[in-house]
Subunit: 398 residues, 2 copies
């Protein structure tokens, strides 16, 4: 029986991915636009570094695409998250509610602020934070003192909740916004994976006061390395630009800085790449959705494994396509990883949960049984946009 | 009299810079090599992000050029410095001896480690840390307890000394190494400005156990944004690579991280630019030296202002050419800045001293009278490599 599923999964992957040549990566960037021209333009203009027209243009294009009023381009998604947390008021000795099922950067960024990640569970429907379960938990372990939510067990203030849109699928934001309102928490969206994903027709990153995007090489669009802080509040945007630009007071020649700032600006050359990539964003989204549809159709025939689809309320970018093994087939995960990777089809498990990493294992945490179950059963499969290209269309080969 | 100097300085700048067209920047990058080809190659290969052949090649070329055994490319010079300090053992609550005369990133990086900058004075000969004066100071305010140097006044351990090679001119490293040995301090070189600068024929960055380089757009070679950690110890290099790569344990698919790490890797696209730039390094150094020689000759005729030249022990990259007004002409600084900038010749003063910035004004500090005097009198003048190109040579126009 188990051998059968193993064979079936590999066979489906081979069928869907027949168009790709082995080895097939998990997620490759796709450069089919003005990338080379814009890079050349940077060289010709002499502007490759932290000042340049492409940085402004990239920020404007991000606003246009996401609907956010303001975007501050930074050096990567981790830096963006650190700025979001800091501008949310997270300080030394605070706790920040952080998903256990996430990439390590989410929890690291909390640490950079001197705060402690307080690990929370996810729900199977979205793979994002489980608002209902978290509410029950907070009811027991917190108390409000002069408007601030305190962890009764540790005595520390709980300042914020970071919600991460796992593999691009939007978390259930309404329930989480309600929860944040009830407990006086700042909501920060870790939207590193969800550029192009919508919650009730509104782009992710518009629900937290501050949200972080990433443009790493494995993301839906890339700047080489890069990230952005999104916000709809002008004062937060100005503050974000200020502290990511070494907190320098603008002046024709004087170097005066008014607080401890960061060198987090995105270089112009990286922004140029991003501008070219964003121009192709809608095409990438179409291709990724087409690939997800192919996977969904093909895996529907196999029992014991399900292809993860966007929640009802969401339109997802299907950044990283995801299989979930049934409980009884969980033990097959490593065999499948082994077999597919050996066959040149790159697959990977979910991240090791934060509570199982040595630096976070002593952090406060709620019951994490859903995350623990999912971690054992998740397998991510190749998701590059170009894999969604049809071989033939009525108009001919694409 | 004062009017005269003002006229003379502007006139000399106009003469030396006649070859440039106004406006003349303080420091522009120079792209005359394989920049466009290498960037195109990144796009063609699909490797633009944190994995790629140019990152390794750039690190190797840096080693070859500097003579350091190991180089770890990172996202910028500030990040490099943060890693140097952390790997030097700087921790929360420590003090780090930091020049008052430096760019704010030096002191910021100390803060990122949770440590406190302890501000120290510089000497007029090198503009770097004054080892003799610092020694006298430490003799009074420190005591050794079980091998560790403590500040008797604050009770905090003093863990390290950061020496910065101001405007590219090497500090007096022998005296500083001796001092570090005597007090049990780690020496970290902030070599952000001194790629191409040598102390007693050894490249800067080889004297501290860990050193930081920068490749910002205004540096002698640029990667857009970028930096590197240099070291001659393999274990420190491995550690630097590890914690700048999110402390991930290499594995074909598993995401296991064993400590709080950073997303500090230099993207391949930025490294590609750096490789092309490093190929032209010797030419850039020649041009910059030629420009400095022109300035030196021209300013020698003006009294009341001196052109700053490399110390005897050093060969400098003349990264940022520097005028120093005499004490009695210090009051002219802002007039000169105003007049030259208005005329399209970009000039700037020294950085505002760290002890005058609000976030560092309460930091412990020694007598800073030399830095305070120099701050009032320093003017940096245009220094781009291309300004060193002769109009004519025996072989004809270059």
């Amino acid at each position: 029986m188990s051998e059968l599923i193993l064979e079936e999964i590999t066979s489906v992957l081979n069928t869907v991915l027949k168009k790709g040549e082995a080895p097939i990566s998990l997620h490759e960037p796709y450069f089919a636009g003005q990338e080379a021209e814009y890079l050349k333009d940077c060289l010709d203009s002499g502007y490759v570094s932290s000042v340049g027209a492409y940085v402004n243009r990239f920020e404007e294009e991000l606003c246009r695409f996401t609907g956010a009023k303001y975007a501050a381009a930074v050096v990567n998604g981790t830096a963006a998250l650190q700025i979001c947390l800091q501008l949310s008021g997270v300080r030394q000795g605070d706790e920040v509610l952080t998903p256990a099922l996430t990439f390590v950067a989410t929890a690291n960024a909390v640490c950079y602020c001197g705060a402690v990640p307080h690990l929370v569970d996810c729900e199977p429907r979205s793979l994002g934070v489980d608002g209902e379960k978290l509410n029950d938990y907070l009811e027991h372990i917190t108390e409000k003192r002069s408007g601030t939510c305190f962890n009764k067990r540790t005595g520390r203030p709980i300042r914020a909740l970071v919600v991460m849109h796992t593999f691009g699928h939007p978390a259930n934001l309404d329930s989480l916004l309600e929860l944040c309102g009830r407990y006086g928490l700042q909501l920060v969206e870790d939207a590193a994976e969800s550029l192009g994903s919508y919650y009730n027709n509104i782009h992710t990153g518009n629900f937290g006061r501050l949200s972080a995007l990433s443009f790493n090489g494995n993301k839906i669009v890339t700047t080489g390395g890069g990230g952005a802080v999104l916000t709809n509040e002008e004062s937060l945007y100005r503050k974000a630009k200020h502290i990511t630009t070494t907190a320098k007071i603008p002046h024709r020649w004087a170097f005066y800085h008014d607080e401890v700032g960061y060198n987090f600006r995105m270089p112009n050359i990286n922004a140029a790449l991003g501008c070219a990539q964003l121009e192709q964003m809608n095409h990438f989204l179409q291709l990724k959705r087409a690939l997800a549809n192919e996977y969904r159709y093909a895996f529907a025939k196999i029992s014991g494994v399900s292809f993860f689809s966007e929640p009802d309320y969401a339109k997802s970018n299907y950044w990283l396509n995801t299989l979930i093994l049934s409980e009884e087939n969980a033990f097959l995960r490593d065999d499948i990883l082994e077999k597919t990777n050996n066959a040149g089809i790159q697959t990977r498990p979910a991240w090791v949960l934060m509570n199982r990493l040595p630096m976070f294992c002593d952090c406060p945490k709620m019951d994490l049984s859903t995350a623990e179950s999912l971690e054992k059963r998740i397998i991510n499969i190749p998701s590059s946009a170009k894999l969604g290209e049809p071989y033939y269309t009525p108009e001919g080969r694409i």
